[in-house]
Assembly symmetry: C2
């Protein structure tokens, strides 16, 4: 909360970069709910996962012409760096909520692990800032964000009311790429075991040397009807609450009883 205006402070970042339409649409969607501060990468950072910048110095540049915000900055860092810089060097305190996105493309199932969008939100949640990552299932720059804006407004308004009831509150929201009238509702889900079956497109450069592009087919190996992939296939908005304790407690218990190196 900004003590002067009594409005919540909303930090927004993304991984598609400061000029991505998804970021501008997220700002427009929530600007009536508080004071928006944007700190975003100066270039696309998709697939950066939870990367941080430790080998090169970070730059932070104020932007004077970014509509609907209190302040906006771009950095040469990753999405995670953006959150760290925002708290320490822009706001000088924690925002009331951190939003990341709206990503151009899905971040459901296993993609959550590779996602710069979710990593930025997770960084905030580690710092006990309620946070939400938003993704639209349309990779194109000209994607239609009109339904996403309505959904984002509803979810953010609600989380601003209740997010602080939890120590670490993080939601991964994916939105199907259909008009608003065709969305069947908002569904709480678990992360599906669905992933890309990877392949590499092998080519020769003009000097005759091989190079590779990562490619592949998306496959769902999870038959549950409680997953994010199931929800999205049935035109629901999927909401997966996300944690950062990666301990596999089941495997831990099993090894405790029968592992000879302990």
């Amino acid at each position: 909360m900004n003590p002067k205006t009594e409005k919540p402070v909303i930090l927004i970042t993304n991984d598609d970069g400061i000029t991505a339409p998804g970021l501008q649409n997220l700002v427009e969607a929530v600007s009536d709910l508080g004071e928006v501060v944007v700190v975003a990468p100066d270039k696309p950072q998709s697939g950066m996962g939870h990367a941080i910048t430790i080998g090169v110095p970070l730059r932070l540049t104020k932007l004077n012409h970014f509509p609907n915000v209190q302040e906006a900055y771009q950095t040469n860092g990753t999405p995670v760096d953006c959150v760290k810089l925002a708290v320490d060097k822009v706001l000088h305190r924690k925002p009331d909520i951190c939003l990341s996105g709206i990503n151009h493309g899905a971040n459901h199932s296993i993609n959550v692990i590779y996602s710069g969008t979710i990593s930025a939100a997770m960084e905030a949640s580690i710092e006990s800032i309620p946070s939400i990552g938003f993704s639209l299932l349309d990779y194109r720059m000209e994607a239609d964000f009109s339904a996403s804006k309505v959904i984002a407004h509803r979810i953010v308004e609600s989380v601003l009311k209740k997010g602080n009831d939890y120590k670490h509150f993080l939601l991964n929201v994916n939105i199907p790429a259909v008009p608003y009238e065709l969305i069947n509702g908002i569904k709480l889900c678990r992360q599906a075991y669905a992933k890309y079956d990877e392949d590499f497109d092998e080519r020769l450069d003009p000097n005759g040397r091989k190079y590779y592009w990562l490619t592949g087919q998306f496959k769902n190996f999870d038959e549950g009807d409680d997953t994010d992939v199931w929800a999205l296939e049935h035109n629901y908005v999927s909401v997966v609450p996300v944690q950062f304790d990666l301990t596999d407690y089941k495997l831990k218990r099993e090894l405790e009883n029968n592992w000879d190196v302990l």
Copy 2:
């Protein structure tokens, strides 16, 4: 298993790069246990998290002078790319085990999320390849890996026997930086809630423009004696079984009962 030699195939990668002493020490530690194939980044990739390369083409270069291995390659990709390339373009099938490290520096507690070392191992585990990330609590290039080699040999030998009993088997192993005689044992742990309290070192470049280095103090907020941080502080090797389902089931259940946007 290599059907010709009947030896297990051991894939080794890391995030400190192909020339890091930790990688060479890991190769030496396990070369008697199978056929070792190395695919590692051509430069340091620390802090890369689960990043993948999608914006630039990948290169894969065979190295002819890498001791104690069947084959060795370097790539311009991330640790996760190394595992994908190894399976699809070098081995043309899954190895029996994937090892990542030995990292120069800790990957306990929350660091697991930022760690290229663990992300490479996680990539393997997603593909149902048993995998282990090793890290020594000494950042220096001249770190002493002699105790780590003994520990790694013991753990890898044991996991080669039993890793395939599980669909997704991933261990995060951290080794205290003390001589072997001072290590109190190997301990199964959970991931501590301990993290860096970040700060940015603000400087001026020769042109008078600000830049920042990420820095900070490590703080343990977790009082449990079952955590990796506790184990390492007491000179145990910490072993945390790691999963990639990030769903926060507790928060999911709570929201199911009392969230107004559903």
